[in-house]
Symmetry: C3
Subunit: 645 residues, 3 copies
């Protein structure tokens, strides 16, 4: 295993910004880091303007100094290529490389991510800087991992972007006739007769072309991956032994197809920022952790960035309750993280991140927060042996970002599909019952799984349908929700309507959709409530599990089950709430008979040992029956073991 | 009668897009159209990029083929001049002809309606295409009607637009002194000293000039009418016998003064897209139908575009319940439509309209929807004789789009006037009682009507006041709501305040307005509730019907009645809800003693016959007393006739 | 005293726009003004396009005429330099001087305030016009006051603005290293290496730099003050004896630091536009009046602009109830205004202000409104002697616009601090108890005050802390709310965290913040409810007054009191509602034992006399015990005096 170079045990640290502070503070930092057990920090992630204060002029002394200090203190560095924060001089000198919004307005500098990833000036400036850093630090003993960029996110609508999009489209579609067909440009008279006519989507007078929007998301994912790859190539050339990564983040505004990217990065690094203050934060933490492990192919991954003390909700910040920091870290380690790292080491006194949380808060080390950090740092070495134990899930949830994009893009079947919400719901219901899940892609071999949940796999092919059918026939159980199988990879609706290429798999033909408005719902015969969507189904091999009651679809099937070989395919044609979805999974028989809703349990195993990680999210002490060794205390544990995390 | 050329009986069809499909589908289409009874389709409406794939290069073969196929199958065509969807090459070649928004951003191609109607390049490209189509198809046997554009709607704020606006203003106002006076440019120092200083309204630093906004709406209506007229002139030159139309649509964002336009089109074609899922959809359908008939001067009109299966609400789509499609068609035919046509024939598999409804849904002909289409197609021939029977209303509602624009434009007296809502309310209350209404303009001769409702006729002249007074004096009853008569045609407030030129007509002088906030209301002495507006009235000939109770206006008149010759003028100084407005009309004596709220009835007559169209919108069968012939079944009907539509 | 030149007693009038009307109306105006007792009007405030219809061509005849008429009628004029409304020709000729928004879109003309205050063409055009007006009218007998501009408000983001900002920054920060430090540009790699890299803040890709946003607000305040000063210099040169003013307005979008400005204007002129329909309008009126008096250093000030009849709420307009106009005027005069003036004299018939209120409404002089105006005009001469009586407050509220800007700018500690709301709350609670308040700045000598409330003094220095500590030690009581003392003047967080430089003053150290979301609250041990913010406090000299109950901070201090010399410092670490804040002030002992919530009372005194102004905001008559002279009626008043305003 190539990673993490030089760090024994689990990684623990944060983004470290010596450039924010005078050097005497660095000395304090080293001391406090040692106290806290920090063994890995990310350096330089937004320091371009400090490293290259004017075009082609470099100042590396401070970074030399920092890395030396780290090495002296036995702390390793993720050395960041700070391509996400071009300096102010860059935008002034290359205004054509600044981001342009979808109305054609060139955005100003004055934040981070102020670039067009397609701009030639940006691309060459990145490569130059990467080469400088690689040359200078290739042999530095602190160097552990290269990180390119921070999170890739900025989408630009300028002419550079249009030109790169055209090239990408040529590659993808081959010729214009194919593109015109794939994009249905005959609709509303958008037939292209020259590649030059195609632009990055811009604000326009009426509804935009949904296929153009979808391909533009894909293009951005690929173009950013190319940018990543360019730096990776340089870095590998100089330091073939050092892994190269970037930070993944899951979100509406992130145009990244993580399945494609996870094949290219040497380490899956994940950012985790839950946005709910209630138990939802713990669910989201587990969700991100399971997704990261799945993207890493079940191998260890790095929790690269998270808050130490705040949940950033859409309505404002919320401060972690005591212990929450540790519990999140435990969740991540239980689910395969080879370390937990945080957004920043020391809270800055100004700038956009001054009020975001850090390992070391404004009030300094004599604080509840820093005490928790130290306690966590003390605990981690004892948990290192977990790293060798496999995390094995019996349930798979299908994850497909292009389907997400298509279903929430322009001219979707209904504006009310919440793709991420539905995937999270499936994960959440299982999480509450301590059923571990992996995430899978359409063509993943499912043979290790008992159950596969396929939420809204809108973009689908016969190949995927066959993959699922083959696995079901051998005894698998699939739960497929509405708007799956409906379109091809460009979003073109398959012949025959709603069930598309999944018709024979689910044994049902969906004739007509009855989408629901936000204030509408429908009753089901089993007492459940349906929302968002309903559809007029014709059984074609499947049997009705429950039907609609009332409304136009009264007495028609709502949830069906199709026996296929040794397995079954369930089809859910409406949106269930958590309780009803739980009942459904219970009926399938995947949920354990009892689970303490306050306690999260993950089991892992090696050939010899079984590990049970138990995390108490409730506010009361609780007891478990276990015999073995308590890895936290290092002491033997016996039946009726009392613990409180 | 010139229209519709070559179609016997009522028209039935949709927009047909052969360019979306390969030719073998067309053959299926012809067969299915015949099965459904389709006799008229609109062809080419968005096919510019297919007809002229590069500037000056034409591809007509596919359209030749389509029209031949249609003619062979005895289906006639509305041949569309697709000026609303310029091809991608057009914007690339003539970027100055793309739409500019009100902040000066040039919008991209990537949708339909991507043009500036004032751009010379656009205007000449349109004329060139029109000539090509006219030349080629002038003698084609399928050609029944020319349609120019789809719905005119796109407003542009570019320099072309400013220049055309200046020319229009010169024509309207003559000289700058007059314009400065009309626009009150002395306010906030906006006095113009050169025509070149006047621009299309652009986003600015504070409140814009309301008169400029109003004139810009009018200008757009006229400029678009000029564009329409240019194509019409060409088409008439080649095919003097073929009527020319365009599609009307009623909406906030449509800058069209339909009274002016209805004089120019050869056929009034209307789009009908209700946006409420409850009975409001039926009310809106009848409203649009009555308005279309009124715009057509009582003559037949064409329901040109509507959904077959979806109500597009602001919150998302809702699917028609079974039978709703037919009921809407019946409402339209009952109210004078010479045919019902739909948005699209066959649901496309991609593009912006993929999830909009069609006569032939994705799931094909073996569907509830297509069966309803066929049933409707079967029913229509029997109803053709209705077309000769007059639709006679005894109530008129005044309709004035410029008043709408002024009242909902910048710096209006209150932001809470809902002009369209109030007009619809008047129509709705009467519709619920099966009282048929026409819509009229300010100077329409009202002698055929018993009652005229004048909602918010904000822009008014002495001439209109005299017209109303003369008709009232002869026995008419007028109901006038607040903010009527207040300003002249440019929005300048008439001397004397709120009652303006209607003071002597309504016999009341409004001293001061007391607008209400959304959460405020006022009680009236008759138990009614007033909202949005109230005013301090002084009787000047009128008597008080009911007064305000509570608040500043306690005991002051709220609703008044002015006896004028043999008639009366009622003035309503506040916003009533449906129930209270119903009571008011009831007090006036215009409502029949009973009406089944579920059943819509329209009576029409020829010299010899009386036709009664009865539509049951309820969910239970109902019976009517009637003797005659059931036009749907063709069988004799007798008393206590049981029917369920 | 230099002001107001030539007006005996209190000023009464409005903005007068003869340019809106033909001359024969002016003659009526003079007559009606005399009837109403008008003695001062503002002329020319938006008349640039009338005064200079083309560049360098002037038309002064109408203004000569107007001023002569005014002088003949013994009415004096505030002569306005109309720099806030450049004419249409100006924008056409100098497009670079039009406002640019933060996305780089140049806004159009078509309103007022369409300029960039930094544009050289604008600056020279202003000076030219000022010189013309000063030259022509320097000796006119009507001339009483010069007013420059109306309210300064327009912020521009163009290149001129960027260049002026750079110059201002050089002056403020001296060198780039200092600026980089002050702005924390190390965060997110925004280190500037050349002044030219710094721009006016523009829309950017992620969170902007908060220090840049704050300095840009300050820059705008200073740049506008420079613009004001340029005109003032010219005017003083020609008419050293005539005071020069501009109009202050308090609002979110006004980038003016009024403490700085109040030193430069010769007269503090204030606009007062309450936006609530309930008693809030009266509270806001008193708030603005007290603030104006404070800005004027306790000297007389001018209520320069207010509505006569409308409250402009965010949801639309509300009409004044009878008497409200007079009550607001009384509130202003009671609190030191040397006159009350209104937005406009005569309601225009068109333009953006047609539906705003005026002294003379559309319905003319025979109206309730004009009768109230006349009654007010009759009343004022009797109140003139009040002007010599001092207004003495025993409570000070600290007012700091930069703290407001920083707390509501980007990346603030929480988005939910409502700075203005909290200042208003403090004022409101005291106002309800007839406790008069002044507003003070951080370094104001507080020796005359018993109590100082310091709401959210986020930007603070040791000097301010020392000033407060010194005053408290001598017996003062300070109430300091959370997020005070936290940062330096650039918004950089002081070492040690939340309590910053106030730590020793408040005797408390704030370790960690627990901001609350809008739907969250926390109970306090005294039964109060906390919102928005809470924090983990460590006592360091202070004692706990009440604590948090429940939640993470259960049993921790919430409100503390620190004995310091002869005085006390109270610290309130959460947001209280009105009732709980009232209880707090009551506990401090500043509230009188009883106060009629409907009656507002202000006492003023000269060496010889005591004046009591009593305003009844309730809807029932009320009686007061007073012996003396009723200034309104001029008659003796005795005990149990019955009055109803």
């Amino acid at each position: 295993m190539r990673w993490p170079t030089g760090v024994a045990g689990l990684c623990f640290g944060a983004d470290y910004h010596p450039e924010h502070w005078p050097r005497h503070i660095w000395i304090q930092d080293m001391d406090l880091m040692r106290q806290a057990g920090v063994n890995l920090v990310t350096v330089g992630s937004t320091a371009w303007s400090r490293l290259e204060p004017a075009e082609g002029e470099y100042e590396f002394d401070w970074l030399d100094d920092t890395l030396d200090l780290l090495a002296d203190n036995d702390i390793r560095a993720i050395l960041a290529i700070p391509t996400s924060s071009p300096p102010p001089w860059f935008g002034l000198r290359h205004p054509d490389a600044l981001t342009v919004d979808d109305r054609g307005n060139r955005l100003g500098h004055g934040s981070r991510d102020t670039y067009c990833v397609c701009a030639p000036a940006y691309r060459s400036a990145c490569l130059r800087l990467t080469r400088e850093l690689a040359t200078r630090y290739r042999h530095h003993p602190a160097l552990s991992i290269w990180q390119v960029h921070t999170t890739y996110r900025t989408v630009c609508h300028c002419d550079h972007s249009s030109r790169s999009f055209q090239l990408w489209l040529r590659e993808r579609h081959g010729d214009l006739a194919t593109l015109n067909e794939a994009w249905s440009t005959a609709v509303w008279g958008q037939r292209y007769s020259d590649w030059a006519q195609i632009t990055a989507p811009r604000a326009t007078t009426d509804a935009p072309n949904p296929a153009q929007a979808l391909d533009f998301r894909r293009f951005n994912s690929d173009e950013m991956l190319t940018h990543f790859g360019e730096q990776q190539t340089v870095l590998r050339q100089y330091t073939p032994h050092i892994p190269v990564t970037t930070t993944f983040e899951i979100g509406d505004d992130v145009p990244i197809d993580h399945w494609r990217w996870s094949k290219e990065v040497d380490i899956v690094s994940m950012a985790s920022y839950p946005d709910r203050v209630d138990r939802g934060a713990e669910e989201q933490t587990a969700f991100i952790a399971d997704l990261a492990r799945s993207l890493a192919g079940g191998r260890p991954w790095l929790l690269k960035e998270q808050a130490t003390g705040l949940i950033h909700t859409p309505d404002g910040p919320h401060t972690f309750e005591p212990g929450r920091l540790e519990r999140h870290a435990m969740t991540q380690i239980a689910r395969g993280a080879r370390g937990v790292m945080f957004e920043q080491w020391r809270a800055p006194t100004g700038g956009a991140t001054a009020w975001r949380s850090a390992m070391l808060p404004h009030a300094g080390p004599n604080t509840r927060l820093f005490r928790e950090i130290r306690r966590l740092g003390d605990m981690l070495p004892g948990l290192a042996e977990l790293d060798g134990a496999a995390v094995r899930a019996k349930v798979a949830i299908m994850w497909d970002e292009p389907s997400w994009w298509a279903l929430t893009g322009p001219s979707a079947p209904t504006p009310h599909v919440d793709y991420l919400g539905v995937v999270r719901q499936a994960h959440r219901v299982l999480w509450r019952h301590d059923v571990l899940t992996d995430f899978t892609a359409g063509e993943t071999d499912l043979s290790g799984y008992r159950l596969a949940i396929i939420p809204h796999l809108y973009l689908a092919t016969e190949t995927i349908a066959d993959n699922l059918a083959g696995w079901v026939a051998q005894g698998g159980t699939a739960v497929i929700t509405y708007l799956s199988g409906t379109t091809d990879h460009t979003g073109r609706i398959h012949a025959g309507g709603l069930s598309g290429v999944f018709a024979s798999l689910i044994g049902v033909r969906g004739e007509e959709a009855y989408p629901m408005l936000p204030d509408q719902s429908v009753r089901l015969s089993n007492g459940a409530t349906g929302r968002v969507w309903s559809e007029h189904l014709h059984l074609d091999g499947a049997e009705t599990i429950c039907g609609y009651r009332g409304g136009t679809l009264d007495r028609q099937p709502a949830i069906t089950r199709h026996a296929l070989g040794d397995g079954h395919v369930w089809y859910v044609s409406t949106q269930l709430d958590d309780t009803d979805f739980t009942d459904l999974l219970d009926a399938i028989g995947i949920l354990p008979s009892e689970a303490d809703p306050d306690v999260e349990t993950v089991e892992r195993e090696t050939d010899d040992d079984t590990y049970r990680i138990v995390i108490n999210h409730g506010d009361k002490p609780t007891a478990i029956n276990a015999t073995g060794t308590d890895l936290v205390s290092g002491k033997p544990a016996e039946g009726g073991y009392q613990f409180l995390l």
